[in-house]
Structure formats: structure tokens, C-alpha cells
């Protein structure tokens, strides 16, 4: 028996957050201020995402929580437990079985459907922040669609590294209007921002919520002669052999040994169950 209100937050707070979410969906990419609550976890651990998830959850939902693609890392495990305890909803590790997915820094490899909501944890929602520290000025820039500065950042990348070196939190323009920070997902995931699912972004410390409604146009910024590229490590997964997924590099010994594995653990496990094998997969008889 739990003494928590359903999904921890009180009903008034959830209504307030839902209003912010609805406004965010009505204006794709616009950062809606909301009265972020103190959550029983430190800032930077997903307080924004947790509040958005809490406001969206119903008792019938099935929740999946991932951190850098994995279901079994500290952040994912503790948030999943949090909602198991406070909302008593079903949880899953399978992307297809989930109705709400809270994520940190990844979009699942399996295509999402119209029945799903993807909730992102966002550390710094303002894409222009590192170029322009004044909030009054960045708000004005959004209002006037004054986004030349964003390209200056990409220009600096090319001038210094010879290519656009921004590899995560790659700025996008939503529905030809608002410049948006897609949270620190790898730019490999940027094309997946055009999705059938509702995508909600919650920044707890910065008190902002924004959204991408289903099938919204999302364009990654680039130059004509340096087009956007969804880059990944140039390998195949060593466990499931997939060559089209985002990979984590794992150091396996102190002699330069390394392996590449899918960062999306559920996707990788499903492929292995289907009989796909990679370079370092255990042999059949050993397993």
C-alpha cells in the first residue's frame, strides 16, 4: 500500500504541468515556462523529465526508462523504481510494449508509434545559451526569429576542426520556426526527431517544457557545403552485428582491446534473441 498520491505529484501540480505540455504541443519547439517542483532527486538527474512523466502517466500505462539507451543503468533503474513505488504502473524494458518512455540522451532504435509518448530529460533547454548568456536577449531572439548566431557556432566548429564537430545536442529548427535544443542526444538520433510519437522535453532546474508533436518537421542546421550528417562509430555491433545502430565503445582490457555494442540494450537483446550474432558473441555451445 502506498501513501503517495498517484505518480508522486499532487493533482494541482500535474494540471499545471499538463497545461504547459499542451501549450508546448500547440507551439512546437517553444519553451514554455512552468513552476518546476522540488523532486526527491538532485537536479541533473532528470527532475524535469520525471515531472513530465508524472503528469502524463495513467494507471493503465506501461513505463520504460532508459539512460543513454540502457535500461539497467543507475539513473534508469532509480526512476523506474520511483514510479513503480509511487504510481504502481507496469514497467517494461521493451520499447514496443511501453506507452510512455522516459529517456536520457537517446532515442530508441525501434521506430515509435502514435500510441507512445517519449519524454526527454533536458539539462539546458536554451540552444543559444552558450552563445548569448542573457535570457532577456535569447527570448527576444526567439521572438524575432533572429537565429544567425546559431550558425556562428557551426562555423566555429568547421574553422577549428574542419567539419561540424558538434556531436550531441545538435541544434534543430522545428516546423520552420523555433530553434530547439533536442537535449544531449547524439546527432545520430536527430533524424528520428521526426516521429509518430509525441515527444516532450522537461528541464526541471531551468523550469521549461517544450514539445514536438507527431509528424512535425524537424531540420538539423547545416551549411550548404557542409551538410548535416548523422554520424556514428564506423563499426558493427560486436554482440548483435547491427551496422545501423548507435554504438557505445567499451574498453575491454588494458592492451587496447575494445568492443562496440549497441547503446540501445533492448534493441540489441531483441536482435540477439532473433539469432543475430556479432564479432564477439559467445559461441553457441559455450552459451
Amino acid at each position: 500500500m502506498s501513501n503517495y498520491n498517484f505518480a508522486y505529484l499532487d493533482e494541482q501540480t500535474k494540471r499545471m504541468i499538463r497545461r504547459a505540455i499542451l501549450k508546448g504541443i500547440a507551439i512546437p519547439g517553444y519553451q514554455v515556462p512552468f513552476a518546476s517542483r522540488e523532486m526527491p532527486m538532485p537536479y541533473g538527474w532528470g527532475t524535469g523529465g520525471v515531472q513530465v512523466t508524472a503528469a502524463c502517466l495513467t494507471p493503465q500505462d506501461t513505463l520504460k526508462v532508459i539512460d543513454q539507451g540502457a535500461d539497467d543503468t543507475t539513473n534508469a533503474v532509480s526512476i523506474r523504481k520511483f514510479f513503480e513505488k509511487t504510481a504502481q504502473v507496469a514497467t517494461t524494458a521493451h520499447t514496443n510494449a511501453a506507452t510512455i518512455i522516459q529517456t536520457r540522451h537517446r532515442i530508441p532504435e525501434a521506430p515509435l508509434t502514435e500510441a507512445q509518448i517519449l519524454v526527454y530529460q533536458v539539462p539546458i533547454p536554451e540552444p543559444l545559451r552558450f552563445l548569448e548568456p542573457r535570457e532577456t536577449e535569447t527570448r527576444k531572439m526567439h521572438a524575432l526569429e533572429d537565429y544567425g548566431l546559431m550558425h556562428v557556432k557551426l562555423y566555429e566548429d568547421i574553422a577549428r576542426h574542419g567539419h561540424i564537430a558538434t556531436a550531441y545536442a545538435y541544434p534543430v529548427k522545428v516546423e520552420d520556426r523555433y530553434m530547439m535544443d533536442p537535449s544531449p542526444i547524439p546527432k545520430f538520433d536527430n533524424p528520428k526527431l521526426e516521429s509518430a510519437a509525441i515527444q516532450l522535453f522537461g528541464a526541471g532546474r531551468e523550469q521549461r517544457i517544450y514539445a514536438i508533436p507527431p509528424y512535425t518537421k524537424v531540420v538539423s542546421l547545416d551549411f550548404e557545403d557542409y551538410p548535416f550528417e548523422a554520424s556514428k562509430a564506423d563499426h558493427a555491433c560486436d554482440l548483435c552485428g547491427a551496422d545501423h545502430t548507435y554504438l557505445d565503445e567499451v574498453i575491454v582490457d588494458d592492451a587496447g582491446g575494445r568492443m562496440f555494442v549497441c547503446s540501445d540494450t533492448d534493441f540489441c537483446a531483441a536482435r540477439q534473441a532473433d539469432g543475430h550474432r556479432g564479432r564477439l558473441s559467445p559461441t553457441e555451445d559455450a552459451a
Binding site: 550558425h151 562555423y155 574553422a159 551549411f223 550548404e224
Partner: protein
């Protein structure tokens, strides 16, 4: 001939104190207007009102826009004014740190205005930045250095390049040579004079340095306590000052 900029009785007060009061003048294409006066005479207030950085209490600033002819910039919407200020206008600050982005390379600083008006071709932007750095005598191999690694004179030249890259027709300059030592000042003035003549720019230069206006300005306005006390051709005003304050200014210049 339509004046490029027609200023009509601009006034700005800070509470009970007068910033500038009842200033009117016309600036014609290709003309350089100097505004001199001692500290606190309202010259910077005037310049900021004209450039849209400050909202004046009254008056009109009619700018001859490319598309629609003369329009009052004070009545324009904010996006229009911003567009104007990064295409047809340029503003050179006294302190280059106010006009530059110090944590962005010199090339990026020059390219920003181009990107702000929609340039999206990296090599094109870079070539143009390179060309402009050359024109203000900054070596091309310093292009990817940050302005914080530049000397004061170089920073000021970089600020000028960054402002002129979009081919503005009107340049506002607030003490462009302030804070520089005399030899660097001379070189900068030489450069400015060349650019203004070659590009046929119109400019409004605010300064307290009479030598600067002698070199650059065609016409001169002398301000005191927020009002214009004397105006006319530069050489005429400086060689034959009529108003007591102008006489004081001219006679205060030290001769080596």
C-alpha cells in the same frame, strides 16, 4: 537629392536632466558628419538615439531605405530595425569588446552578420571574411584566432571589418580611435579614410578628438549641454570658430 538620414528635433532626457535636445540635421549619401563636444555634452546619447539603441523622447529619424524610400526608423517594428542595423547600418563601438564576440574567432566575428542575413555557404562566408580581414590589414593566418589574442588596434580594425562586411550605407562611430595610442590611431584613421572614400560610405562620427574630425569629417556639429551650438564645414568651423565654446575647444588642443 534625398538625404540618406534626416534627423528632426531629436530630444532625449534622463529624468530632469537633458541628454540631448532639439538636434536636427541632414546627412547626404557619401557625406561624413562629425559630432564633437566635451564629455557629457550629449554626443553619445545622440548617436545611440539615431542608431536605435536608445528610444528618444521626441523627434524623427528618417532613413532613406532601399525598398520604400525615407522612413521614420523610430516608428519601425523591432524586427525591421534589427534587419536595418545588420544590413544598411553599422555601429563601431569605442571599446571593441562591446562590438565583438570575444570567444569567437575573427573569421566568425566577420561572418556573423553574413549568417544573420541568411548566408549558408561556409566557403563563401570564409572567402568574404578573408577578403575583409585583408582590407583592414589583418593577416589571413590570424583568421581563426580569437579577438582576445589581438592587440587593441587590431581589435578595432576587426570590429570595422565585421561591420562593413554586409556593405552598409551608413556607419555610426562612437570614438573609434579612443583608447588607442597615437601611431595606432593614425594608422586606423588612414584606414577609415580610405574605406569611407572607396566605398562611398556615409558616416556619423562622434569624438572629442578634433584631429579625427579634421581628417575624416566633411561637416561638423559642435555640442554643448545637449544642444548643437555650432555647425558647418569642418575646416570652416575649426579654422574660424564662432561660438565661444567652439573657440574654447579649438584653443584647448595641445600642439607638440
Amino acid at each position: 537629392m534625398t538625404p540618406l538620414l534626416a534627423v528632426k528635433s531629436i530630444a532625449k532626457s534622463y529624468g530632469g536632466r537633458i541628454g540631448c535636445s532639439d538636434v536636427s540635421f541632414d546627412l547626404y549619401p557619401g557625406e561624413v558628419m562629425g559630432v564633437v563636444g566635451e564629455s557629457g555634452s550629449g554626443k553619445s546619447t545622440l548617436l545611440n538615439c539615431l542608431a536605435g539603441h536608445l528610444a528618444p523622447d521626441g523627434g524623427e529619424v528618417l532613413f532613406d531605405t532601399r525598398a520604400d524610400g525615407p522612413r521614420d526608423t523610430l516608428q519601425m517594428s523591432e524586427p525591421e530595425r534589427r534587419m536595418l542595423s545588420r544590413t544598411d547600418w553599422a555601429f563601431v563601438h569605442q571599446n571593441p569588446r562591446d562590438g565583438l564576440r570575444m570567444n569567437i574567432s575573427a573569421g566568425g566575428n566577420v561572418g556573423e552578420r553574413l549568417m544573420a542575413v541568411g548566408a549558408r555557404h561556409y566557403d563563401g562566408i570564409r572567402n568574404k571574411a578573408e577578403d575583409w580581414l585583408g582590407r583592414v590589414e589583418i593577416e589571413v593566418d590570424r583568421m581563426d584566432d580569437r579577438p582576445s589574442a589581438f592587440s587593441g588596434g587590431m581589435q578595432q580594425r576587426l570590429q570595422i571589418a565585421r561591420n562593413l562586411v554586409t556593405g552598409p550605407r551608413l556607419v555610426f562611430m562612437d570614438e573609434p580611435t579612443g583608447g588607442l595610442d597615437v601611431s595606432v590611431q593614425a594608422r586606423l584613421l588612414d584606414l577609415l579614410r580610405g574605406l569611407v572614400r572607396d566605398l562611398g560610405l556615409s558616416a556619423i562620427i562622434v569624438t572629442h578628438d578634433l584631429a579625427v574630425v579634421r581628417l575624416l569629417a566633411d561637416r561638423l556639429m559642435v555640442m554643448k549641454s545637449g544642444r548643437v551650438v555650432e555647425s558647418g564645414l569642418t575646416d570652416q568651423v575649426l579654422d574660424d570658430p564662432q561660438h565661444a565654446h567652439t573657440q574654447l575647444l579649438v584653443s584647448s588642443v595641445l600642439h607638440v
